[in-house]
């Protein structure tokens, strides 16, 4: 649990550094997010006059939900102590609960920007969740379980084989992950223009330690999605069951490498594509849903034969 908490800002810093380099800037150091968090924690909170108790408690709750979800995803070792308490559906539902609370907080102060962010966010979520479920269905059909450690174990075994449905499921998962984490082309995490914001519009009124918790929760969510993709589709180096210290070190190194590669690729991808119009995003997410459906149908063919 502590590992994901420490690694998340580093991942965010790496992505920003990659994007800066591609823009021919030097960019801030990869440790800058830690400094940002420390600075925000020390500042005083400025609350709107009509902000309610919900507005003040939501950052803590969002952080708790995201942290618990992130702890359920295997990072460098499967078979975590309490990994059986929640499967992939529970993880997605915990992230959905965090999003529900954030949308409510956006509506709380009664400004139009909060409403913009909340209404767009729930529209994206309504299309991303069925696509995610189709991916989970394909994985459950292949691996026989929705528990992440079991899926990882299955993928490591030779029974997995080369399957086109896995490739389609991977593409669909990546599209959903981009939508859920508010990255380009769905939403711009670094925009200063209010009318292009979705996630930023909901947190517009937050400041100080509240904002620090929400930013950390967002970094944690990105780390969670990347860890899930790595654990399901690229489980090399994952330690299964009990092993010696050497294996754990190898697992940690493999995990760090996967995070670095994923972060770099995400940065390059964000730099090479423009943000989509809001009403073109349903086409993209609909495409992810179709990919998931196609993966399931193709699986019915190959499993049923």
């Amino acid at each position: 649990m502590a590992l994901v908490l420490l690694a998340a800002p580093l991942l965010t810093g790496l992505i920003r550094k990659v994007k800066a380099r591609l823009q021919a800037r030097r960019g801030a150091s990869v440790l800058q997010p830690y400094r940002d968090l420390r600075r925000l924690l020390g500042k005083e909170v400025v609350l709107a006059e009509n902000a309610s108790w919900l507005f003040r408690t939501v950052p803590y709750l969002i952080f708790a939900f995201t942290w618990v979800a992130a702890s359920l995803v295997p990072t460098f070792a499967a078979g975590l102590l309490f990994s059986w308490t929640g499967d992939l559906i529970a993880i997605i539902a915990l992230l959905g609960a965090a999003r529900f609370l954030l949308a409510l907080a956006g509506m709380d102060v009664g400004t139009s920007f909060g409403g913009i962010g909340a209404s767009r966010e729930v529209m994206f979520a309504s299309l991303a969740e069925p696509a995610m479920l189709m991916v989970i269905l394909s994985l459950a059909l292949i691996a026989g379980s929705t528990q992440l450690s079991t899926i990882a174990q299955f993928m490591l075994s030779p029974a997995a084989g080369l399957r086109v449905s896995l490739a389609l499921a991977l593409v669909a998962f990546v599209i959903v992950a981009i939508a859920e984490n508010a990255r380009i082309p769905v939403d711009n995490p670094a925009t200063h223009l209010e009318l292009t914001m979705v996630h930023e519009a909901m947190v517009l009124e937050y400041s100080g330690r509240h904002l620090a918790m929400i930013e950390l929760a967002a970094s944690l969510k990105l780390l969670l999605m990347i860890s899930a993709i790595a654990c399901i589709f690229f489980p090399f180096g994952l330690v299964i069951g009990a092993a010696e210290a050497g294996h754990y070190l190898v697992g940690l190194g493999a995990y760090g490498l996967k995070l670095a590669v994923a972060g770099t690729m995400l940065g390059i991808f964000e730099m090479s594509i423009a943000k989509m119009r809001v009403f073109r995003v349903p086409n993209l997410l609909g495409g992810a849903l179709m990919l998931g459906l196609l993966a399931t149908l193709l699986l019915f063919v190959s499993v049923g034969l």
């Binding site: 919900l54 529970a90 609960a97 709380d108 009664g110 400004t111 209404s119 529209m123 299309l127 009403f279």
Partner: protein
């Protein structure tokens, strides 16, 4: 056991008669509601005890002399009686406080206990005659409650449509029972269970059961009466109608299809799955377009009925393929959702009633900022919203998780129709769940959060303690059912054992109180541990922040990017919140169209945006029927204005025709 329950039911009927006299005195009202709450609570408890026992029957010498009234309390009836008991008790406790605002108590009080009695009697009936008698009693007493505020708005029309649909459902069920009774004409359920109808007759009976029970439950396209009638009734009755009466309709469907019909065929499961999926998505899309709070909740009931029917369809599919454990999982998921929906929908209607009595407004666009004025009821409403959006660790998540596990369970079914329908239903269920979360962010955000949009909203006050205690009680039930789901699953085991011959693995013996649908290697969920982790993380974070970070807070005007607008009219309204979803889904489903009228530059007239949408189901199914009936009635009306000679000619022709028929017969 059944005798005790019957005594309570007769008590309720007696309360109804007493209510005629007691209605005009405030103490009388309290007595009636308190006694109703007590009786419902007792029945609920008796039902809970009766779940584990063998079925008990009784034959009363009432009704038709050669049939009598067979009554039976078995596992399925006990579970639904428990749900009705909990719902009824909660609504009665709520009504102790809410009923003080009732303008015409003599129109509500006599019918309320009779409605409750009708609900219980449907569950106990063991032959077609007493079933239909109780069904009609339930429909008529609820109709009387729907038109109790007959001078307000459109309530009379709502009651009229409700009465038509109730008569339709009764007719369909009557025909279904007639087919089941067959040539022997024996209407007792025992004989129907033993007889095995042919495949054609079984298909007809299933169709009639879907039409009859489905129209009462709210399956698309027979749902049109629901969003008209449920909001028209007083709030505690709306809670009962949405939360409990629709479940009794689900009971009717389960009883006919799973108990009386025997083994279903796989394509009937496809039909039920398709109807369930379409109902779920259409219900929540309709709900998203509403800005009347109670109508939004009523459309949402349609969505949850769809989810329950998806579970029932899965149970039928697995049963048709002999996969009993999967059928037990799907049936348990559906029945768990029955209980959950009764609890959180009642809670939400109580909240809507609290808002209505505090502000006099039902329209969300005239509310706002109520979280500051109505602290406790807004917290309970929030729990209800979170529960209905299937957020962990509350109970809505557990029943949807179980339904998803049933969908993911076994793709190796041989029929291709099922192979394609089940994943499609999974996608539709996920879409409905995500849209439900969107719908309730809108409902809570526009009603309770933000700034007050009218004077009524800024002058609201908290409601009385009876209403609050009912709401808090149900909110606590939502949390408990989410944290200890194994209790409910084990309680449902006798039901699935009796109907399907199989049950889910025993849950309460598992370590840490997890639930495991099929086997541990497949998936598991632990509500208690997730809740504890969430609580621990929150407390740890709060402690760490308050220890190491700054604790200063300063109040100021809202930032709003530097353009704060003092007018609350610049906030998002319910319609504007739903606009992205309306653009994505509404253009296809409702043919929504937005026209913008922009005045030319220099003109001081305001720009206008108008949105139009059509209810395609009403236009396709209901209006043609209404037009045809009116046309036929107009034509037949000519018979009223004939001369005496024409009437005599009718009599003469009828006599001649009968004599001719007699001659030809011989």
């Amino acid at each position: 056991m059944i005798v005790a329950v019957l005594i309570c039911i007769f008590g309720l009927l007696g309360l109804g008669i007493a209510g005629v006299g007691l209605a005009l005195r405030p103490l009388g009202r309290t007595v009636v509601y308190a006694a109703a709450a007590g009786l419902c609570g007792v029945i609920g408890l008796l039902a809970l005890i009766g779940l584990g026992r063998a079925p008990s029957t009784i034959l009363l010498p009432l009704g038709l002399p050669w049939v009598g009234a067979h009554l039976r309390l078995d596992a399925l009836s006990s579970f639904f009686a428990f749900v009705v008991g909990v719902g009824g008790a909660g609504a009665s406790v709520y009504a102790l406080g809410y009923g003080r605002h009732e303008q015409a108590p003599q129109r509500v009080l006599p019918f309320y206990p009779v409605f409750l009695a009708g609900l219980f009697l449907v569950l106990l009936a063991d032959d077609a005659f007493s079933f239909l008698f109780a069904w009609e009693l339930m429909s008529l007493s609820s109709w009387a409650l729907v038109v109790s505020h007959h001078r307000e708005g459109d309530n009379v029309r709502a009651g009229y449509i409700y009465l038509l649909m109730a008569a339709f459902s009764g007719l369909m069920l009557l025909l279904g029972f007639g087919l089941l009774a067959g040539a022997t004409g024996d209407y007792a359920f025992e004989t129907m269970r033993a007889a095995h109808p042919s495949a054609g007759v079984a298909a007809f009976v299933l169709g009639l059961a879907l039409l009859g029970a489905g129209s009462k439950a709210g399956l698309v396209p027979l749902h049109a009466w629901l969003p008209l009638a449920h909001p028209a009734a007083p709030s505690h009755v709306s809670a009962l109608m949405s939360g409990v009466m629709t479940k009794v309709a689900v009971y009717a469907f389960v009883r006919i299809v799973f108990d009386l019909l025997g083994l279903p065929s796989w394509w009937s499961a496809v039909v039920v799955l398709a109807l369930g999926g379409i109902t779920a998505v259409l219900g929540v899309l309709y709900a998203l377009m509403q800005h009347d709070l109670k109508r939004l909740l009523a459309y949402h009931t349609v969505e949850n009925i769809g989810i329950i029917f998806i579970g029932l369809g899965l149970a039928m599919a697995f049963r048709a393929n002999g996969f009993a454990i999967g059928a037990a999982l799907a049936l348990t998921a559906a029945l768990f959702h029955v209980f959950n929906h009764a609890v959180f929908k009642s809670l939400l209607f109580f909240g809507a009633g609290a808002v209505l009595s505090a502000t006099g407004e039902r329209d969300m666009e005239h509310l706002g900022g109520l979280i500051h004025r109505m602290r406790i009821s807004s917290f309970a409403f929030l729990i209800g919203c979170a529960a209905i959006s299937a957020l962990p660790p509350l109970n809505g998540f557990v029943s949807e998780w179980l339904t998803f596990q049933a969908i993911l369970l076994r793709p190796g079914l041989p029929q291709w129709g099922l192979k394609i329908m089940i994943p499609s239903d999974g996608a539709l269920l996920a879409l409905a769940a995500a849209l439900a979360a969107a719908c309730f962010v809108k409902a809570y955000g526009v009603t309770y959060l933000g700034r007050p949009r009218t004077a009524a909203a800024s002058n609201a006050g908290e409601v009385d303690k009876w209403s609050l205690s009912a709401m808090i009680g149900f909110a606590a039930l939502c949390l408990l059912a989410g944290i200890f789901p194994g209790v409910m699953i084990d309680a449902l085991a006798p039901v699935s054992q009796a109907l399907l011959g199989a049950r889910m693995p025993a849950q309460l013996a598992l370590p840490w109180l997890s639930i495991i649908p099929v086997e541990a290697s497949r998936s598991s969920y632990n509500g208690l541990l997730i809740f504890s982790f969430l609580a621990a993380s929150t407390l740890l974070t709060v402690w760490a922040i308050h220890r190491f970070a700054s604790r200063a807070v300063q109040r100021g005007p809202a930032w709003d990017c530097g353009f704060p607008d003092p007018s609350p009219a610049t906030q998002y309204t319910a319609d504007s919140f739903a606009q992205p979803i309306r653009r994505v889904f509404g253009t296809v489903v409702f043919r929504t169209h937005e026209t913008v009228v922009m005045p030319p530059p220099g003109d001081v007239a305001p720009a206008r945006i108008e949105k139009s949408s059509r209810d395609l189901i009403w236009e396709t199914f209901y209006e043609p029927v209404a037009r045809a009936v009116t046309a036929t009635a107009d034509t037949l009306n000519q018979l009223q204005f004939l001369t005496i000679r024409r009437y005599l000619a009718f009599v003469f022709l009828a006599l001649v025709a009968l004599l001719l028929a007699l001659a030809l017969w011989q």
